[in-house]
Amino acid sequence: MNNLPEDCIAKILSLTTPRDVCRSSAVSRCFRSAADTDHVWNHFLPSEFPEGFRAPEGLPTKKHLFFSLVHNPLLLHGSQLSFSLERSTGNKCYMMAARALNITWGHDQRYWQWISLPDARFKEVAALKMVWWLDITGKININLLSDDTLYAAYLVFKWNLDPYGFRQPVEASLVLAGTEHDDVQPSMVSLMQNPGSEQGQHAELRSDDWYEVELGQFFKRRGDMGEIEMSLKETKRPFEKKGLIVHGIEIRPVLP
């Protein structure tokens, strides 16, 4: 292996994963110098960046760019969409701000308020005062995502002082917009972490201290077109819901 030229080693490493390349940096000097080359990390960066993407300044190598995008999501599109990379594969991840979602009655101050929280990625989050018709929908163009990857969408939220009306599961759905989905049953998810409830998904605590609940999954194939429509609804029960704070919807690859 010592006899292999550095660009051969770099080529071999580019066929592994980012994690393996980082480990390779600790093998030997020749591996390390091959592992740091731009050729390798270019391979892990997306071949196509989303519209409005501008690489942060001051990053000397492609490796720095890669890890910068992993750890520091970039705001695109007038700051309503954040873009980052999944660390082990380099696949693209996004988060849509609450402002980018369609929240029924969201414009009405009697029901929803838009506030700024210090630990939010976006300028504003939606705080629910009180509503009967809870309907939150988001749409994302499937083009933005990485090919041949299984993705999941999560509603990112937390609770205000006195949440009410969320003990029962609510409806979550994820469909490809425009397809026949009258027959597709929405899944029931529980926003509260009830340890007893066996049925369906329930909310999990994230590392950034927000909660998330899975709305659904989809597999993006090369050449897929259209929009993915994700929604969370509770419109059937005749009582009010209160105290939910919506950060946004995150779309990221499902890790094996």
Binding site: M1, P5, C8, K11, D20, C22, R23, R29, R32
Partner: protein, 345 residues
Amino acid sequence: MSESDMAIIKPDMMKSYIWLETSDGSIQQVEQEVAMFCPMICHQVLQKGAGSSKNSAISLPHKVNPPMLSLIFDYCRFHQLPGRSNKERKVYDEKFMRMDTKRLCELTSAADSLQLKPLVDLTSRALARIIEGKSPEEIREIFHLPDDLTEEEKLEPLKNTMDDPRIRLLNRLYAKKRKELKERAKLKSIEVEERVDERSVDDLLSFINGRDHKGVNTSKSKKKNKKRKEHKNGTCKVFNKDSHNLHSKQRSVEETSSSSLGRVSNLHSMEDDIFSKKAEFEDGYIDDEIDPALKEMLDREVEEFARRLNSSWVLSVGQERQPVHFSINGNGDTRRLTGPAARHK
């Protein structure tokens, strides 16, 4: 020779061969269509007219030894026939790749020097599959690579994969303290930018501290924190570069469990003590005598900091984390040691 003899000889001579010389000096001939499959040989034949006779044999790169050459030509002989189906080629390739790692490396090397890209791709993929998922130790063993990196160099990439912003913060703290001490020693009687450094380190700590209550601080509330501190100390400096760095650090810290950081807030008062003590010294002269003592105290404080950081870390054990041993060498640098290295400082 009779005419009939000549007739027998002629059909053989119709098939053309290319003459090649390997690094060990041996010369052999190969069917033209097989040899021409290699771009490097092709180039030599077409551009320079070489290889048509024993005397004008093409000398191959030194990485191509006879056994590798015959392997390569087996590959070429199979693939240069246009009539083969994709499935046939795939099956052949899978079978062809079954050899030990040493040969795989040699083959990659040889194929690369002959510019035979399809074969290089094939062998590279096979080698990539071998490397995937293995630890550095294992990779060194499999490929007989020298262990020629220093401890520090080995730890560096692990920081990226395990994402430990707290070590970086700690090292920054050390670096800043060292810088402070140096500056003091240089400018004894002048009241200098002590506050400059203080401010930056304060930022670091208030950032750690701020997380105690709310999760990540955005620049908004950081400014709030800064203003509070400015009231306290009466200086008004904004360090955009530092706050930007901090902001990006915040994002990476997001990934660590926040509950453990609650414990770090205890250190804030300790660090405050360090700074207030320094403020006392600022006004008067700084003797050489005080310097080493101060240095020692600072070292002790930071060691305490490191110990607490470590203990809070151990509590927040996730899947990838192992108990980390810090060692502080003479310079005051923190080194993160794992395994047997942790035993000796």
